[in-house]
Protein backbone atom coordinates (compact mmCIF):
# COMPACT_ATOMS: atom_id res chain seq x y z
CA UNK A 1 0.00 0.00 0.00
CA UNK A 2 0.88 3.64 -0.34
CA UNK A 3 0.80 5.24 3.10
CA UNK A 4 -1.56 8.13 3.67
CA UNK A 5 1.27 9.94 5.39
CA UNK A 6 4.89 9.07 4.74
CA UNK A 7 6.85 7.62 7.68
CA UNK A 8 9.97 9.42 8.89
CA UNK A 9 12.41 6.94 10.41
CA UNK A 10 15.75 7.76 12.08
CA UNK A 11 19.06 6.24 11.01
CA UNK A 12 21.50 7.17 13.77
CA UNK A 13 22.48 10.82 14.17
CA UNK A 14 22.60 11.89 10.51
CA UNK A 15 20.16 9.90 8.37
CA UNK A 16 16.41 9.90 7.88
CA UNK A 17 14.55 7.25 5.90
CA UNK A 18 11.28 8.43 4.40
CA UNK A 19 9.00 5.50 3.62
CA UNK A 20 6.16 6.19 1.19
CA UNK A 21 4.65 2.73 1.21
CA UNK A 22 5.38 -0.95 1.64
CA UNK A 23 5.09 -2.40 -1.83
CA UNK A 24 6.93 -2.09 -5.07
CA UNK A 25 5.21 -0.05 -7.69
CA UNK A 26 6.23 2.70 -10.03
CA UNK A 27 4.01 5.20 -8.26
CA UNK A 28 6.12 4.97 -5.11
CA UNK A 29 9.33 5.24 -7.07
CA UNK A 30 8.01 8.34 -8.84
CA UNK A 31 7.31 9.89 -5.42
CA UNK A 32 10.84 9.12 -4.23
CA UNK A 33 12.43 10.39 -7.48
CA UNK A 34 10.15 13.42 -7.40
CA UNK A 35 11.05 14.33 -3.83
CA UNK A 36 14.76 13.90 -4.52
CA UNK A 37 14.52 16.25 -7.47
CA UNK A 38 12.61 19.00 -5.61
CA UNK A 39 15.02 18.77 -2.69
CA UNK A 40 17.83 19.35 -5.15
CA UNK A 41 16.02 22.24 -6.83
CA UNK A 42 14.96 23.86 -3.56
CA UNK A 43 18.53 23.64 -2.20
CA UNK A 44 17.04 22.55 1.11
CA UNK A 45 19.58 23.57 3.69
CA UNK A 46 21.11 20.90 5.86
CA UNK A 47 20.40 18.12 3.34
CA UNK A 48 23.79 16.76 2.28
CA UNK A 49 22.50 14.14 -0.15
CA UNK A 50 19.56 11.87 -0.90
CA UNK A 51 19.25 8.30 -2.11
CA UNK A 52 15.80 7.50 -3.53
CA UNK A 53 14.84 3.85 -3.89
CA UNK A 54 11.72 1.82 -4.78
CA UNK A 55 9.36 2.88 -2.02
CA UNK A 56 11.51 5.10 0.16
CA UNK A 57 14.19 7.73 0.19
CA UNK A 58 17.20 8.08 2.46
CA UNK A 59 18.34 11.56 3.46
CA UNK A 60 21.83 12.27 4.76
CA UNK A 61 21.57 15.53 6.70
CA UNK A 62 23.75 17.77 8.78
CA UNK A 63 22.48 17.53 12.38
CA UNK A 64 24.39 20.69 13.27
CA UNK A 65 22.08 22.60 10.89
CA UNK A 66 18.73 20.91 11.52
CA UNK A 67 17.13 18.53 14.04
CA UNK A 68 15.29 15.36 13.08
CA UNK A 69 11.84 16.74 13.88
CA UNK A 70 12.31 19.97 11.96
CA UNK A 71 13.62 18.05 8.97
CA UNK A 72 10.51 15.86 9.05
CA UNK A 73 8.34 18.99 9.02
CA UNK A 74 10.22 20.46 6.09
CA UNK A 75 9.95 17.19 4.15
CA UNK A 76 6.22 16.92 4.87
CA UNK A 77 5.66 20.29 3.25
CA UNK A 78 7.84 19.44 0.22
CA UNK A 79 6.01 16.13 -0.27
CA UNK A 80 2.72 18.06 -0.13
CA UNK A 81 3.88 20.14 -3.05
CA UNK A 82 4.48 17.11 -5.34
CA UNK A 83 1.94 17.00 -8.17
CA UNK A 84 0.14 13.88 -9.46
CA UNK A 85 2.50 11.35 -11.01
CA UNK A 86 0.25 10.89 -14.08
CA UNK A 87 1.65 14.11 -15.43
CA UNK A 88 5.23 12.87 -15.34
CA UNK A 89 6.92 12.38 -18.68
CA UNK A 90 10.60 11.51 -18.77
CA UNK A 91 13.29 11.03 -21.37
CA UNK A 92 13.99 7.34 -21.05
CA UNK A 93 16.84 5.58 -22.79
CA UNK A 94 16.44 1.88 -23.61
CA UNK A 95 19.51 -0.38 -23.34
CA UNK A 96 19.58 -3.79 -25.05
CA UNK A 97 21.97 -6.28 -23.43
CA UNK A 98 23.09 -9.61 -24.85
CA UNK A 99 22.33 -11.85 -21.88
CA UNK A 100 23.44 -15.40 -21.29
CA UNK A 101 20.74 -16.99 -19.15
CA UNK A 102 21.43 -20.22 -17.21
CA UNK A 103 25.10 -19.50 -17.83
CA UNK A 104 28.03 -21.57 -16.52
CA UNK A 105 29.61 -18.67 -14.56
CA UNK A 106 26.79 -17.88 -12.18
CA UNK A 107 26.18 -21.64 -11.89
CA UNK A 108 29.77 -21.99 -10.67
CA UNK A 109 29.20 -19.27 -8.06
CA UNK A 110 26.07 -21.08 -6.83
CA UNK A 111 27.91 -24.43 -6.74
CA UNK A 112 30.73 -22.82 -4.77
CA UNK A 113 28.21 -21.37 -2.30
CA UNK A 114 26.62 -24.82 -1.89
CA UNK A 115 29.99 -26.43 -1.29
CA UNK A 116 31.37 -23.85 1.11
CA UNK A 117 28.47 -22.14 2.86
CA UNK A 118 25.15 -23.94 2.68
CA UNK A 119 23.27 -26.20 0.27
CA UNK A 120 20.50 -24.66 -1.81
CA UNK A 121 18.59 -25.36 -5.00
CA UNK A 122 20.04 -23.94 -8.25
CA UNK A 123 18.71 -20.36 -8.33
CA UNK A 124 16.72 -20.45 -11.62
CA UNK A 125 15.06 -23.75 -10.64
CA UNK A 126 14.27 -22.36 -7.21
CA UNK A 127 12.77 -19.11 -8.53
CA UNK A 128 10.81 -20.87 -11.32
CA UNK A 129 9.24 -23.28 -8.83
CA UNK A 130 8.44 -20.52 -6.34
CA UNK A 131 6.61 -18.51 -9.01
CA UNK A 132 4.65 -21.44 -10.42
CA UNK A 133 6.57 -21.53 -13.70
CA UNK A 134 6.88 -24.80 -15.60
CA UNK A 135 10.66 -24.94 -15.74
CA UNK A 136 13.81 -22.86 -16.05
CA UNK A 137 13.10 -22.26 -19.74
CA UNK A 138 9.78 -20.60 -19.00
CA UNK A 139 11.56 -18.65 -16.29
CA UNK A 140 13.98 -17.30 -18.92
CA UNK A 141 11.08 -16.47 -21.25
CA UNK A 142 9.22 -14.58 -18.54
CA UNK A 143 12.24 -12.78 -17.10
CA UNK A 144 13.44 -11.63 -20.52
CA UNK A 145 9.90 -10.82 -21.72
CA UNK A 146 9.75 -7.28 -20.36
CA UNK A 147 11.54 -3.99 -20.27
CA UNK A 148 12.97 -3.11 -16.86
CA UNK A 149 12.69 0.30 -15.23
CA UNK A 150 15.83 1.64 -13.51
CA UNK A 151 14.31 2.79 -10.20
CA UNK A 152 17.56 3.70 -8.47
CA UNK A 153 21.29 3.10 -8.29
CA UNK A 154 23.07 1.83 -5.23
CA UNK A 155 24.51 -0.98 -3.15
CA UNK A 156 27.56 -0.73 -5.38
CA UNK A 157 28.61 2.18 -7.64
CA UNK A 158 26.41 2.07 -10.72
CA UNK A 159 24.38 -0.98 -9.71
CA UNK A 160 20.83 -0.56 -11.08
CA UNK A 161 17.80 -1.61 -9.08
CA UNK A 162 15.16 -2.39 -11.69
CA UNK A 163 11.48 -3.27 -11.86
CA UNK A 164 9.68 -5.25 -14.57
CA UNK A 165 7.42 -2.83 -16.46
CA UNK A 166 5.19 -5.59 -17.83
CA UNK A 167 3.10 -6.93 -14.93
CA UNK A 168 2.90 -10.33 -16.69
CA UNK A 169 6.63 -10.72 -16.09
CA UNK A 170 6.72 -9.83 -12.41
CA UNK A 171 8.52 -12.55 -10.46
CA UNK A 172 9.59 -12.50 -6.83
CA UNK A 173 12.37 -14.28 -5.00
CA UNK A 174 13.83 -14.39 -1.50
CA UNK A 175 17.40 -13.34 -0.91
CA UNK A 176 20.25 -15.58 0.12
CA UNK A 177 20.64 -16.38 3.79
CA UNK A 178 23.51 -15.92 4.51
CA UNK A 179 24.67 -13.83 1.52
CA UNK A 180 27.18 -15.06 -1.06
CA UNK A 181 30.77 -14.01 -0.60
CA UNK A 182 31.27 -13.52 -4.37
CA UNK A 183 29.30 -13.00 -7.58
CA UNK A 184 30.81 -12.79 -11.09
CA UNK A 185 30.97 -9.36 -12.75
CA UNK A 186 27.97 -8.71 -15.01
CA UNK A 187 25.73 -11.18 -13.18
CA UNK A 188 21.99 -10.60 -13.47
CA UNK A 189 20.07 -11.49 -10.35
CA UNK A 190 16.91 -10.78 -8.46
CA UNK A 191 15.60 -10.44 -4.93
CA UNK A 192 12.16 -9.38 -3.88
CA UNK A 193 10.67 -8.12 -7.16
CA UNK A 194 13.84 -6.29 -8.09
CA UNK A 195 16.31 -7.26 -10.80
CA UNK A 196 19.89 -6.02 -10.67
CA UNK A 197 23.14 -6.27 -12.61
CA UNK A 198 26.36 -6.64 -10.61
CA UNK A 199 28.81 -4.05 -12.03
CA UNK A 200 31.86 -5.83 -10.58
CA UNK A 201 32.54 -9.04 -8.68
CA UNK A 202 31.07 -8.43 -5.21
CA UNK A 203 29.32 -10.33 -2.45
CA UNK A 204 25.56 -10.42 -2.89
CA UNK A 205 22.21 -11.69 -1.73
CA UNK A 206 20.16 -11.95 -4.93
CA UNK A 207 19.22 -15.18 -6.72
CA UNK A 208 21.47 -15.32 -9.79
CA UNK A 209 20.76 -16.87 -13.18
CA UNK A 210 22.31 -14.88 -16.06
CA UNK A 211 25.27 -12.77 -17.07
CA UNK A 212 25.96 -9.88 -19.47
CA UNK A 213 29.39 -9.27 -21.04
CA UNK A 214 28.87 -5.50 -21.29
CA UNK A 215 30.37 -3.18 -18.64
CA UNK A 216 27.88 -1.00 -16.76
CA UNK A 217 30.58 1.06 -15.08
CA UNK A 218 34.02 1.97 -16.28
CA UNK A 219 36.61 3.96 -14.35
CA UNK A 220 38.81 4.06 -17.48
CA UNK A 221 36.01 5.55 -19.64
CA UNK A 222 36.89 3.36 -22.63
CA UNK A 223 33.44 3.75 -24.21
CA UNK A 224 31.65 7.02 -25.09
CA UNK A 225 28.70 6.09 -22.83
CA UNK A 226 30.93 6.80 -19.83
CA UNK A 227 32.09 10.27 -20.75
CA UNK A 228 29.75 12.09 -18.36
CA UNK A 229 29.70 9.53 -15.57
CA UNK A 230 31.52 6.31 -14.86
CA UNK A 231 28.10 4.77 -14.19
CA UNK A 232 26.14 3.76 -17.29
CA UNK A 233 22.63 4.19 -15.92
CA UNK A 234 20.43 6.98 -14.66
CA UNK A 235 17.12 6.51 -12.89
CA UNK A 236 14.38 6.44 -15.53
CA UNK A 237 16.41 4.38 -18.02
CA UNK A 238 15.03 1.09 -19.29
CA UNK A 239 16.79 -2.22 -19.90
CA UNK A 240 15.89 -5.18 -22.14
CA UNK A 241 17.71 -8.47 -21.69
CA UNK A 242 18.18 -10.31 -25.00
CA UNK A 243 18.94 -14.02 -24.44
CA UNK A 244 22.15 -15.23 -26.13
CA UNK A 245 24.22 -18.43 -26.03
CA UNK A 246 27.52 -18.74 -24.10
CA UNK A 247 29.32 -18.59 -27.48
CA UNK A 248 27.69 -15.27 -28.37
CA UNK A 249 28.45 -14.02 -24.86
CA UNK A 250 32.12 -14.78 -25.39
CA UNK A 251 32.13 -13.10 -28.82
CA UNK A 252 30.75 -9.92 -27.32
CA UNK A 253 33.23 -10.19 -24.45
CA UNK A 254 36.08 -10.16 -26.97
CA UNK A 255 34.67 -7.03 -28.60
CA UNK A 256 34.38 -5.36 -25.18
CA UNK A 257 38.01 -6.23 -24.46
CA UNK A 258 39.35 -4.86 -27.75
CA UNK A 259 37.14 -1.76 -27.53
CA UNK A 260 35.07 -2.41 -30.68
CA UNK A 261 31.83 -3.18 -28.85
CA UNK A 262 28.98 -0.82 -29.72
CA UNK A 263 26.38 -0.18 -27.01
CA UNK A 264 22.87 -0.88 -28.24
CA UNK A 265 20.85 2.06 -26.90
CA UNK A 266 17.81 3.92 -28.22
CA UNK A 267 17.52 7.49 -27.11
CA UNK A 268 14.45 8.92 -28.84
CA UNK A 269 11.74 7.77 -26.48
CA UNK A 270 9.87 9.50 -23.69
CA UNK A 271 8.19 7.59 -20.92
CA UNK A 272 4.69 8.79 -20.11
CA UNK A 273 3.31 7.62 -16.78
CA UNK A 274 -0.26 8.23 -17.97
CA UNK A 275 0.21 6.13 -21.12
CA UNK A 276 1.96 3.41 -19.18
CA UNK A 277 -0.84 3.18 -16.63
CA UNK A 278 -3.46 3.07 -19.39
CA UNK A 279 -1.59 0.19 -21.06
CA UNK A 280 -1.24 -1.79 -17.83
CA UNK A 281 -5.02 -1.56 -17.34
CA UNK A 282 -5.58 -3.45 -20.59
CA UNK A 283 -3.46 -6.45 -19.52
CA UNK A 284 -4.42 -9.69 -17.86
CA UNK A 285 -1.79 -9.72 -15.13
CA UNK A 286 -2.15 -13.45 -14.52
CA UNK A 287 -1.00 -14.36 -18.00
CA UNK A 288 2.54 -15.63 -18.40
CA UNK A 289 4.66 -15.80 -21.53
Amino acid sequence: MIYEKPRFLPGGDRYMLIEFGNEMNLELNFMAQGLASIIEKSQTKAVIETAPCFASMLIHYDPDAIGFKDLAKEMTSLIGSLGPSDDIELDSRLFYFPTCYLDPWTKAAVDDYCAKITKKKWDPEFVAELNGLKDVHQFVRVHSGTEYWVASLGFWPGLPFMMALDPRCVITAPKYNPPRTWTPQGTVGMGGASTAIYPVATPGGYQIFARIPVPIWDTDKRFPQFEKSICLFQPGDRVKFVPVSPQEFEEVEVRVKDGTYVYNVVEYQRFSVRNYKAWVKTLNKNERF
Binding site: C53, L58, F155, K175
Partner: protein
Protein backbone atom coordinates in the same frame (compact mmCIF):
# COMPACT_ATOMS: atom_id res chain seq x y z
CA UNK B 1 57.35 12.73 -0.31
CA UNK B 2 58.03 9.31 1.13
CA UNK B 3 58.74 5.90 -0.26
CA UNK B 4 56.89 2.77 0.77
CA UNK B 5 59.50 0.23 1.90
CA UNK B 6 57.05 -2.24 3.45
CA UNK B 7 53.35 -1.60 2.77
CA UNK B 8 51.94 -3.30 5.90
CA UNK B 9 48.75 -5.31 5.88
CA UNK B 10 46.49 -2.75 4.21
CA UNK B 11 47.78 0.79 4.49
CA UNK B 12 45.65 3.25 2.59
CA UNK B 13 45.36 6.95 1.88
CA UNK B 14 42.21 8.44 3.44
CA UNK B 15 40.79 11.90 4.02
CA UNK B 16 37.89 13.11 6.14
CA UNK B 17 34.93 13.15 5.70
CA UNK B 18 35.74 11.35 2.46
CA UNK B 19 33.77 11.09 -0.78
CA UNK B 20 30.50 12.76 0.15
CA UNK B 21 27.57 13.37 -2.19
CA UNK B 22 27.56 10.22 -4.34
CA UNK B 23 25.52 7.87 -2.17
CA UNK B 24 22.73 7.90 -4.79
CA UNK B 25 25.14 6.41 -7.33
CA UNK B 26 26.40 3.90 -4.81
CA UNK B 27 29.72 5.51 -3.86
CA UNK B 28 30.49 5.20 -0.16
CA UNK B 29 32.37 7.98 1.64
CA UNK B 30 35.36 5.80 2.58
CA UNK B 31 37.66 7.86 4.84
CA UNK B 32 39.29 6.85 8.15
CA UNK B 33 37.43 4.31 10.27
CA UNK B 34 38.53 6.14 13.44
CA UNK B 35 38.09 9.77 12.45
CA UNK B 36 38.86 10.89 16.03
CA UNK B 37 42.47 9.66 15.95
CA UNK B 38 42.78 10.69 12.30
CA UNK B 39 41.70 14.29 12.84
CA UNK B 40 43.92 14.67 15.91
CA UNK B 41 46.94 13.44 13.88
CA UNK B 42 46.32 16.15 11.28
CA UNK B 43 45.85 18.88 13.88
CA UNK B 44 49.14 17.90 15.55
CA UNK B 45 51.08 18.59 12.34
CA UNK B 46 49.21 21.82 11.59
CA UNK B 47 46.98 20.44 8.81
CA UNK B 48 43.25 20.88 8.34
CA UNK B 49 41.62 18.11 10.40
CA UNK B 50 40.44 16.35 7.23
CA UNK B 51 43.68 16.44 5.16
CA UNK B 52 44.74 13.20 3.46
CA UNK B 53 46.86 10.90 5.62
CA UNK B 54 47.49 7.20 6.08
CA UNK B 55 45.38 4.55 7.75
CA UNK B 56 47.31 1.40 8.69
CA UNK B 57 45.46 -1.64 9.96
CA UNK B 58 46.73 -4.40 12.27
CA UNK B 59 50.25 -4.34 10.77
CA UNK B 60 51.76 -0.97 9.92
CA UNK B 61 54.05 0.11 7.08
CA UNK B 62 57.73 1.04 6.84
CA UNK B 63 58.24 4.40 5.14
CA UNK B 64 61.36 6.28 4.06
CA UNK B 65 61.13 10.06 3.99
CA UNK B 66 62.58 11.87 0.99
CA UNK B 67 62.54 15.29 2.59
CA UNK B 68 62.50 16.88 6.03
CA UNK B 69 59.10 17.29 7.60
CA UNK B 70 56.84 16.84 10.58
CA UNK B 71 54.63 13.82 11.21
CA UNK B 72 52.27 12.55 13.89
CA UNK B 73 51.11 9.03 14.66
CA UNK B 74 47.86 8.38 16.52
CA UNK B 75 45.38 5.57 17.04
CA UNK B 76 46.53 1.99 17.60
CA UNK B 77 49.97 1.47 19.12
CA UNK B 78 52.05 -0.21 16.43
CA UNK B 79 55.26 0.59 18.32
CA UNK B 80 56.57 3.08 15.78
CA UNK B 81 60.31 3.53 15.45
CA UNK B 82 62.21 6.21 13.60
CA UNK B 83 65.61 4.86 12.52
CA UNK B 84 65.14 2.12 15.13
CA UNK B 85 64.48 4.60 17.96
CA UNK B 86 60.99 4.40 19.53
CA UNK B 87 58.89 7.51 18.90
CA UNK B 88 55.83 8.59 20.86
CA UNK B 89 52.22 8.52 19.67
CA UNK B 90 49.87 11.49 19.94
CA UNK B 91 52.54 14.13 19.33
CA UNK B 92 54.23 15.78 16.38
CA UNK B 93 57.72 14.57 15.48
CA UNK B 94 60.39 16.02 13.20
CA UNK B 95 61.65 13.67 10.49
CA UNK B 96 64.66 14.17 8.21
CA UNK B 97 65.16 13.17 4.62
CA UNK B 98 66.53 9.61 4.54
CA UNK B 99 65.04 8.57 7.87
CA UNK B 100 62.88 5.45 8.07
CA UNK B 101 59.68 5.11 10.06
CA UNK B 102 58.72 1.53 10.88
CA UNK B 103 55.45 0.38 12.42
CA UNK B 104 54.83 -3.22 13.48
CA UNK B 105 51.72 -5.02 14.66
CA UNK B 106 49.16 -3.26 16.83
CA UNK B 107 49.36 -3.85 20.56
CA UNK B 108 46.23 -1.95 21.51
CA UNK B 109 43.65 -0.87 18.96
CA UNK B 110 43.54 -1.96 15.33
CA UNK B 111 44.25 1.13 13.21
CA UNK B 112 47.10 3.63 13.29
CA UNK B 113 47.01 6.99 11.58
CA UNK B 114 50.00 8.83 10.16
CA UNK B 115 49.62 12.50 9.29
CA UNK B 116 52.30 14.49 7.51
CA UNK B 117 52.54 18.28 7.56
CA UNK B 118 51.14 19.50 4.24
CA UNK B 119 49.00 16.41 3.73
CA UNK B 120 49.25 13.67 1.11
CA UNK B 121 48.85 15.17 -2.34
CA UNK B 122 47.57 12.41 -4.62
CA UNK B 123 44.90 13.38 -7.18
CA UNK B 124 41.40 13.70 -5.74
CA UNK B 125 38.75 11.50 -7.36
CA UNK B 126 35.11 12.69 -7.10
CA UNK B 127 36.25 15.30 -4.61
CA UNK B 128 38.22 13.05 -2.28
CA UNK B 129 41.62 11.36 -1.98
CA UNK B 130 40.18 8.50 0.07
CA UNK B 131 40.93 5.02 -1.17
CA UNK B 132 37.92 2.85 -1.99
CA UNK B 133 39.77 -0.45 -2.42
CA UNK B 134 36.90 -2.61 -3.54
CA UNK B 135 36.14 -0.45 -6.55
CA UNK B 136 39.75 0.54 -7.17
CA UNK B 137 39.32 4.32 -6.93
CA UNK B 138 41.03 7.10 -4.95
CA UNK B 139 44.31 6.85 -3.09
CA UNK B 140 47.20 5.66 -5.25
CA UNK B 141 45.93 3.64 -8.20
CA UNK B 142 42.80 2.88 -6.21
CA UNK B 143 44.52 0.45 -3.91
CA UNK B 144 46.29 0.04 -0.61
CA UNK B 145 49.91 1.23 -0.71
CA UNK B 146 52.34 -1.01 -2.59
CA UNK B 147 56.05 -1.57 -2.02
CA UNK B 148 58.20 0.92 -3.88
CA UNK B 149 55.51 3.58 -4.38
CA UNK B 150 56.53 7.17 -3.79
CA UNK B 151 53.70 9.10 -2.16
CA UNK B 152 53.53 12.85 -2.88
CA UNK B 153 53.09 15.25 0.03
CA UNK B 154 52.11 18.92 -0.30
CA UNK B 155 54.34 21.56 1.27
CA UNK B 156 53.41 22.35 4.84
CA UNK B 157 54.82 23.75 8.02
CA UNK B 158 54.51 21.68 11.15
CA UNK B 159 55.91 22.22 14.59
CA UNK B 160 57.46 19.25 16.36
CA UNK B 161 56.74 18.59 20.04
CA UNK B 162 53.05 19.44 20.00
CA UNK B 163 51.09 17.02 22.16
CA UNK B 164 47.50 15.85 22.43
CA UNK B 165 45.99 16.60 25.82
CA UNK B 166 45.57 13.22 27.56
CA UNK B 167 41.84 13.74 28.13
CA UNK B 168 41.36 14.35 24.40
CA UNK B 169 42.59 10.91 23.30
CA UNK B 170 40.22 7.99 22.78
CA UNK B 171 40.57 5.15 25.31
CA UNK B 172 40.77 1.75 23.68
CA UNK B 173 39.34 -1.31 25.40
CA UNK B 174 42.11 -3.41 26.91
CA UNK B 175 39.80 -6.28 27.87
CA UNK B 176 38.44 -6.69 24.29
CA UNK B 177 34.99 -5.51 25.39
CA UNK B 178 33.47 -2.42 23.78
CA UNK B 179 30.27 -0.59 24.59
CA UNK B 180 28.81 0.47 21.24
CA UNK B 181 26.06 3.08 21.18
CA UNK B 182 23.17 2.42 18.80
CA UNK B 183 20.02 4.31 17.83
CA UNK B 184 16.90 2.23 17.17
CA UNK B 185 15.72 2.47 13.57
CA UNK B 186 15.01 2.80 10.73
CA UNK B 187 13.47 -0.72 10.72
CA UNK B 188 13.27 -1.42 14.47
CA UNK B 189 9.57 -2.28 14.25
CA UNK B 190 10.43 -5.48 12.33
CA UNK B 191 12.10 -6.98 15.43
CA UNK B 192 9.97 -8.20 18.35
CA UNK B 193 10.47 -7.27 21.97
CA UNK B 194 12.40 -10.43 22.75
CA UNK B 195 14.61 -9.72 19.74
CA UNK B 196 15.41 -6.21 20.96
CA UNK B 197 16.15 -7.48 24.49
CA UNK B 198 18.40 -10.20 23.10
CA UNK B 199 20.25 -7.73 20.88
CA UNK B 200 20.93 -5.34 23.75
CA UNK B 201 21.89 -7.99 26.29
CA UNK B 202 24.12 -10.21 24.13
CA UNK B 203 27.91 -10.22 23.95
CA UNK B 204 28.32 -10.06 20.16
CA UNK B 205 31.60 -11.30 18.74
CA UNK B 206 33.24 -9.43 15.88
CA UNK B 207 33.81 -11.98 13.10
CA UNK B 208 37.08 -12.31 11.21
CA UNK B 209 34.96 -11.96 8.05
CA UNK B 210 34.93 -8.19 8.54
CA UNK B 211 36.50 -5.45 6.46
CA UNK B 212 35.99 -1.79 5.54
CA UNK B 213 32.64 -2.62 3.90
CA UNK B 214 31.05 -4.40 6.84
CA UNK B 215 31.67 -5.76 10.33
CA UNK B 216 29.98 -9.14 10.76
CA UNK B 217 28.76 -10.10 14.19
CA UNK B 218 28.38 -13.57 15.69
CA UNK B 219 25.60 -14.15 18.19
CA UNK B 220 22.13 -15.55 18.71
CA UNK B 221 19.22 -15.77 16.27
CA UNK B 222 16.80 -12.89 15.79
CA UNK B 223 13.05 -12.95 16.26
CA UNK B 224 10.59 -10.74 14.47
CA UNK B 225 7.23 -9.02 14.62
CA UNK B 226 4.30 -9.90 12.37
CA UNK B 227 5.45 -7.21 9.98
CA UNK B 228 8.41 -9.40 8.98
CA UNK B 229 6.12 -12.26 7.94
CA UNK B 230 2.92 -10.61 6.73
CA UNK B 231 4.25 -8.52 3.88
CA UNK B 232 3.94 -8.12 0.14
CA UNK B 233 5.91 -10.85 -1.73
CA UNK B 234 8.21 -8.28 -3.37
CA UNK B 235 9.83 -7.79 0.04
CA UNK B 236 11.30 -11.28 -0.29
CA UNK B 237 10.45 -14.35 1.74
CA UNK B 238 12.93 -14.26 4.64
CA UNK B 239 11.78 -12.27 7.68
CA UNK B 240 14.74 -9.87 7.38
CA UNK B 241 13.99 -9.12 3.69
CA UNK B 242 12.53 -5.73 2.87
CA UNK B 243 11.92 -3.85 -0.38
CA UNK B 244 15.34 -2.49 -1.31
CA UNK B 245 16.00 0.73 0.52
CA UNK B 246 18.76 3.24 1.20
CA UNK B 247 21.13 2.18 3.97
CA UNK B 248 22.43 4.63 6.58
CA UNK B 249 26.16 4.36 7.19
CA UNK B 250 26.50 2.54 10.51
CA UNK B 251 23.32 0.54 9.93
CA UNK B 252 23.17 -2.83 11.67
CA UNK B 253 22.08 -4.67 8.59
CA UNK B 254 20.37 -7.97 9.19
CA UNK B 255 21.41 -10.21 6.30
CA UNK B 256 19.30 -13.29 6.95
CA UNK B 257 20.26 -13.92 10.56
CA UNK B 258 23.73 -12.34 10.41
CA UNK B 259 24.02 -8.73 11.59
CA UNK B 260 26.57 -6.74 9.62
CA UNK B 261 27.49 -3.19 10.64
CA UNK B 262 27.84 -1.21 7.43
CA UNK B 263 30.96 0.91 7.71
CA UNK B 264 32.93 3.42 5.61
CA UNK B 265 33.15 1.43 2.35
CA UNK B 266 29.72 -0.15 2.77
CA UNK B 267 26.79 -0.53 0.37
CA UNK B 268 24.33 2.35 -0.07
CA UNK B 269 21.25 0.24 -0.69
CA UNK B 270 19.93 -3.23 -0.36
CA UNK B 271 17.05 -5.42 0.67
CA UNK B 272 17.70 -6.24 4.31
CA UNK B 273 16.28 -4.51 7.36
CA UNK B 274 18.35 -2.21 9.57
CA UNK B 275 16.90 -2.45 13.09
CA UNK B 276 19.61 -0.21 14.60
CA UNK B 277 22.19 2.32 13.46
CA UNK B 278 25.58 3.05 15.02
CA UNK B 279 25.92 6.85 15.25
CA UNK B 280 28.88 8.65 13.70
CA UNK B 281 30.51 9.49 17.04
CA UNK B 282 30.86 5.78 17.84
CA UNK B 283 32.62 4.76 14.61
CA UNK B 284 36.08 5.15 16.16
CA UNK B 285 35.33 2.22 18.45
CA UNK B 286 34.53 0.04 15.46
CA UNK B 287 37.75 1.18 13.81
CA UNK B 288 39.86 0.23 16.82
CA UNK B 289 38.36 -3.18 17.59
CA UNK B 290 39.74 -6.47 16.32
CA UNK B 291 38.07 -9.70 15.18
CA UNK B 292 37.22 -11.68 18.29
CA UNK B 293 36.47 -8.56 20.33
CA UNK B 294 33.11 -8.31 22.06
CA UNK B 295 30.48 -5.64 21.38
CA UNK B 296 27.83 -4.74 23.94
CA UNK B 297 25.21 -2.48 22.42
CA UNK B 298 23.65 0.40 24.31
CA UNK B 299 20.52 2.05 22.92
CA UNK B 300 20.49 5.85 22.90
CA UNK B 301 18.14 8.45 21.39
CA UNK B 302 18.67 10.45 18.19
CA UNK B 303 19.21 13.55 20.32
CA UNK B 304 21.84 11.81 22.45
CA UNK B 305 23.61 10.59 19.31
CA UNK B 306 23.66 14.14 17.96
CA UNK B 307 25.05 15.40 21.28
CA UNK B 308 27.83 12.79 21.15
CA UNK B 309 28.66 13.99 17.66
CA UNK B 310 28.92 17.61 18.82
CA UNK B 311 31.13 16.57 21.72
CA UNK B 312 33.44 14.58 19.46
CA UNK B 313 33.67 17.41 16.93
CA UNK B 314 34.62 19.75 19.78
CA UNK B 315 37.43 17.37 20.81
CA UNK B 316 38.67 17.14 17.21
CA UNK B 317 39.73 20.76 17.22
CA UNK B 318 42.85 22.81 17.92
CA UNK B 319 41.88 23.16 21.60
CA UNK B 320 42.89 19.53 22.17
CA UNK B 321 46.50 20.18 21.18
CA UNK B 322 49.00 21.64 23.64
Amino acid sequence: MFEVIVPGLETSIQDYPGRIGFWNQGFPPSGPMDSWSFRIANLLVGNEAGAAGLEAQYMGPTLKFQRDGVIAITGADMQPKLDAQPVPLWESIAVKAGQTLALTSSKTGARSYIAIAGGIDTPAWLGSRSTFHKAGVGGMQGRALQKGQVVPVAKGKGTPGRKTKPECRPTFATDKIWTIEVVAGPNDDWVDEAGHKRFLSTDWKLSSKSDRTGFRLEGPQWTFTEKAYKKAPENGAEPSNIIDQGYPLGAINLAGQTPIILVNDGPSMGGFINPYTVPSATFWKLGQSKPGDIYRFKSISVDDAQTLRKELNAICSASSIA
